[in-house]
């Protein structure tokens, strides 16, 4: 069911014309295909995951950011060494708010550290492999970690350093430390997305399957694509604990090496961020027979729905009853807050341009606040995140995507064990569970809302001028630009250093934050009293000139 709104909005086809009219002809032609007027029933095609127009001012980052920053960064006991000049390691040092909670004071936690080979000119000219091996040895000698991961920055691929060979050599030398590399040079692919895929491949190849420990718990799932920003995974864990659901492995918020190595022992993969981790879901399905299911713990209603879906999947009456009890326990606190806030937020409008899943998930929270999403888009998603996975066979693989390795996965001769029979899966699907699939964002958005992929700065400013939304959601680069326009911006990467926003407690946090932002009296102080007077006096002065 998609959202509807009674508010009158500008004609979207005219808006699209305005967005592209200033562009050079070739650019306009290209951008036109990424600016789509939504129809939730027919779901038009969106051009996505294609190269950004050079110079256009994009939100996007690079493959390294997606691989090291997003997917591998949150695991606390891996020493992540950036192989390259100092910048990449520096910028991805503690900036993503991946919370982690070591179980004891003695447990490893490298998240507050930045490790880099700090490549110098002579390493570029004569090769950096030797220095890399020295760095790996020093990391091993100093910390004796369980794993060391190497992340390639742009020059590494160009000068031909073989990070994989260096890693293999050191791994063999140590014997008790897993060492592996990632070819996630910033120029690969067209955005962070390439890095997610590379990270998924690397974790699957080098980590998953190394730990066959059978953990306690009746209902064991892997939580995929939840990076514990602002403590999101902690809130989900709190709810799961109450329900009696065990997180077997987390990819990768608050995770450890042994968790990731144990992922094949779970019975379900619950996917939060489809874009960054769907590859892992597919590969675990194929090799070990663990189905994946799209869930969404952003929004109280969505959380309740996701819990019910998980209970339905496990098909256990006791679990279903427990889930209902938990929902019944949690909802009153949520309802109390939303009842207070709803009259102040209802009818307001939001725009979301962020991420590869967040622009979808957060629409649920805005909907709970009675707010309408008038335009949304992703920074680095693919067509399936917009239109649903049914379009996957029709997506053309271009030169940039071809460069990203697709692992050939086959069923494991020993460990492949389908958790559900074909018939059971069909039955679950008939009950409305999205098993091994995702319906995308557009089917939920209202008719004639705008969908813009990889939005440019220029397009953002235009949209704000035209729609004057009550709130705009994006990242830190956009934050103060939009706020200078007098529109509050909610950061949906860092949550403006707040959160968590998942689950029931998270929903309450979000309601309160949005209430504060869209109703903050500070926005009414923008004009100084004398400016108001000057304007009105100017008007009266010019009027008096006319009469003279």
């Amino acid at each position: 069911m998609y959202m509807e709104s009674k508010t009158q909005f500008p004609d979207p086809s005219q808006v699209r014309e305005e967005l592209i009219e200033k562009y050079p002809a070739k650019v306009a032609k290209k951008r036109n295909k990424s600016i789509i007027i939504n129809d939730p029933e027919t779901v038009p095609e969106v051009q996505a995951n294609v190269r950004t127009v050079p110079g256009i001012i994009t939100q996007r980052g690079c493959s390294y950011a997606g691989c090291k920053g997003v997917v591998l960064g949150p695991t606390r006991d891996v020493v992540n060494i950036t192989h390259g000049p100092i910048g990449c390691g520096f910028y991805s040092w503690l900036t993503r708010r991946n919370q982690t909670r070591p179980e004891t004071d003695a447990d490893a936690n490298f998240i507050p550290y930045c490790f880099s080979t700090d490549m110098q000119e002579e390493n570029i000219v004569f090769g950096g492999e030797k220095k890399l091996k020295v760095a790996i040895q020093e990391a091993y000698d100093l910390f004796h970690p369980k794993a060391i991961a190497i992340f390639s920055t742009c020059p590494v691929g160009l000068i031909g350093d073989d990070v994989h060979a260096a890693s293999r050599e050191m791994k063999e030398k140590f014997g008790d430390c897993n060492v592996f590399g990632f070819s996630c040079e910033g120029y690969r692919g067209v955005s962070q997305s390439a890095g997610h895929h590379i990270a998924n491949n690397g974790i699957f190849k080098h980590m998953v399957g190394r730990n066959n420990e059978i953990k306690e718990g009746k209902f064991k799932l892997n939580l995929l694509g939840e990076y514990n920003i602002g403590g999101d995974a902690f809130e989900i864990e709190r709810i799961f604990d109450k329900c009696g659901i065990t997180i077997n492995s987390s990819f990768s918020g608050n995770s450890t090496v042994s968790q990731l190595e144990n992922a094949h022992m779970a019975d379900l993969n619950a996917i939060m961020c489809h874009r960054s981790i769907n590859y892992m879901g597919d590969m675990l399905e194929t090799k070990y027979g663990i189905p994946w299911m799209k869930i969404n713990f952003i929004g109280a209603e969505s959380s309740a729905k996701s819990l019910r879906k998980i209970a339905e999947y496990f098909g256990d009456a006791e679990l279903k009853a427990r889930v209902e009890e938990v929902i019944k326990e949690e909802m009153p606190k949520v309802k109390e807050v939303i009842d207070e806030i709803l009259p102040r937020t209802s009818g307001k409008t939001a725009m979301l341009f962020v991420g590869g899943s967040r622009a979808h998930h957060y629409q649920d929270l805005f909907s709970e606040l009675g707010m309408t999403t008038v335009a949304a888009g992703y920074e680095f998603a693919h067509r399936d995140d917009y239109e649903g996975r049914e379009v996957l066979p029709n997506i053309k693989v271009d030169a940039d995507s071809k460069n990203i390795e697709e692992l050939k996965i086959v069923a494991d001769p020993e460990l492949y064990k389908p958790r559900k029979t074909e018939a059971e899966l069909e039955e679950l699907k008939a009950k409305g569970l999205e098993i091994n699939t995702y319906e995308g964002m557009m089917k939920q958005m209202m008719k004639k809302s705008l969908v813009v992929d990889d939005i440019s700065h220029y397009e953002s400013e235009k949209l704000i001028e035209i729609y004057k939304p009550d709130i705009f959601c994006a990242g830190v680069k956009e934050k103060y630009v939009v706020q200078k326009m007098g529109v509050p911006l909610k950061q949906l990467h860092s949550y403006d250093y707040g959160g968590p926003y998942t689950g029931f407690e998270g929903a309450v946090n979000f309601y309160r934050d949005i209430d504060r932002m869209v109703n903050n009296p500070v926005w009414k102080l923008i004009k100084a009293p004398w400016q108001k007077t000057a304007d009105s006096e100017k008007e009266s002065l010019s009027a008096s000139y006319v009469t003279q």
């Binding site: 050079p54 110079g55 880099s116 000068i159 910033g186 120029y187």
Partner: protein
């Protein structure tokens, strides 16, 4: 403990940098370029560089930081980035209409050997640069120097590519700003005005990265040195470079191109460095120092003498960038404090020499800069010989919390407090702010930890 793996035992490392006290060149070039009015900085490399640099500068300033990127893909990395840069220039002038595009390179474009001079020339020859508009460039490979080097290189680019000598001298002095905050640049202009010296300050990020909330986003805020001002620097009487690492190279370039003599002084942080700056500027502009400035100096000195008991003999660890670290170390010594452990990731013989001179007054002090001078080492030194105060960028808070010592944020980046873009650290009033900050953290600690019977009302 947050930094639970940091050991007391110091081992020499040759391959691994841990918790760096520097970042890479392009972010400095981007920052410097924002100090030109009507300029859009452009990063010639992968998208990630520009995204990272804009994000870090945005977190530091809580302000819009606009910049574009050549968005390299694998193809561009193999075949060269010329097509991407030409397309960028075309798109930028059509959509964002800047007066200037300031292009800096990255490790990617440097490794493949893109020649920015040749590509920008081609852009001009192909008519992609509209009449009256400019594209300047700086080579800023990330594998050389640090963010400070990148800043210096972009400022050199401004001097080399804009300065003109008409043969007629102008009664003005060039002040070349080392990497300092917009608040500092505003203070330098204020002091110059008080002195009655006519100056051209470049770059100048005041009114760019401390822009007011007006309800309207000015894509090109009102601040920044203008193109006519930059052109006129070639006719100035002389230049004063504020910082031997981040500013002097541009002064040298101006001297080479237009024969403008220069003097280098330390960035005016603290009383002695500010004294030298005032002396240098009054001499260069042939003006005498007004009583107003002498009084300002006196107020700073008054606070230093009034409160000396709280400073004297206190040990300090500090990390940061050379042009700040040099005068700050000197100021700490002037306050009677003992700078004990100092690191800076930025290399440079000049830096080492200056620090050696200054640290003669602090026997037993540890100082290291360049490769291997990271905050992991600094923290290890602190474990071996504890200090009373840590000064550095926001990353220092992890060390300060673990070691339970007072911490003052100073340098780049500061991403967890505001103030640095509004209140200066340079000049006498900047010195007063530093004095107040240091006293504040010491006294807050005393108030928090004193036994009840020793809790003091008057301090």
């Amino acid at each position: 403990m947050l930094l639970r793996h940091t050991t007391k035992e110091v081992k020499v490392r040759e391959g691994l940098t841990i918790n760096p006290a520097k970042t890479c060149q392009p972010v400095g070039a981007l920052y410097a370029a924002l100090g030109i009015h009507g300029c859009l900085p452009h990063s010639h490399g992968s998208q990630g560089c520009c995204a990272y640099h804009r994000s870090m500068l945005t977190r530091h300033y809580k302000e819009p930081v606009m910049a574009a990127t050549s968005s390299f893909t694998e193809g561009a990395s193999v075949f060269g980035g010329q097509a991407n840069l030409l397309a960028s220039i075309d798109t930028i002038f059509s959509v964002y209409d800047p007066d200037i595009i300031a292009v800096h390179s990255t490790c990617l474009s440097e490794t493949i050997g893109d020649d920015l001079q040749q590509i920008t020339k081609k852009a001009a020859d192909d008519g992609k640069i509209p009449e009256g508009k400019h594209v300047i460039y700086a080579s800023t490979p990330s594998f050389v120097g640090s963010h400070v080097t990148g800043y210096a290189n972009m400022v050199v680019g401004m001097a080399e590519q804009f300065a003109e000598s008409t043969g007629e001298k102008k009664e003005q002095v060039n002040l070349i700003a080392g990497w300092m905050e917009p608040s500092d640049m505003r203070e330098i202009k204020k002091l110059s005005k008080e002195l009655g010296a006519k100056i051209v300050l470049f770059p100048d990020t005041s009114d760019v990265l401390d822009a007011p909330q007006t309800g309207k986003h000015e894509f090109y805020p009102k601040g920044g040195v203008t193109i006519p001002e930059l052109k006129s620097t070639g006719d100035s009487l002389s230049s004063i470079a504020l910082g031997c690492i981040s500013a002097e190279p541009a002064a040298v370039a101006l001297d080479k191109k237009c024969g403008v003599p220069f003097e280098t002084v330390d960035m005016p942080i603290g009383i002695s460095a500010t004294d030298r700056f005032i002396m240098a500027l009054s001499k260069a502009a042939s003006v005498s120092v007004p009583d107003e400035i002498t009084s300002e100096r006196g107020r700073l000195l008054d606070a230093m003498t009034d409160m000396d008991q709280y400073f004297y003999g206190k040990k300090v660890a500090l990390f940061g960038d050379p042009d700040q670290v040099i005068p700050l170390t000197e100021f700490l010594l002037d306050l009677g404090m003992l700078p004990l452990h100092i690191v800076s990731g930025t290399p440079g013989k000049r830096f080492e020499k200056r620090m050696a001179e200054i640290l003669e007054r602090s026997p037993g002090a540890n100082f290291k800069n360049g490769l291997g001078a990271d905050t992991f080492l600094l923290h290890q030194w602190m474990k071996n010989e504890p200090v009373d105060l840590l000064i550095g960028n926001s990353y220092g808070k992890y060390i300060a919390r673990d070691e339970n010592i007072p911490f003052i944020r100073f340098g780049f980046p500061i991403v967890d407090r505001i103030g640095h873009s509004y209140f200066p650290s340079v000049g006498y009033s900047g010195g007063l702010r530093l004095v107040e900050k240091i006293l504040g953290v010491f006294m807050d600690r005393q108030d928090r930890e004193a036994p009840e019977e020793k809790f003091e009302l008057v301090m």
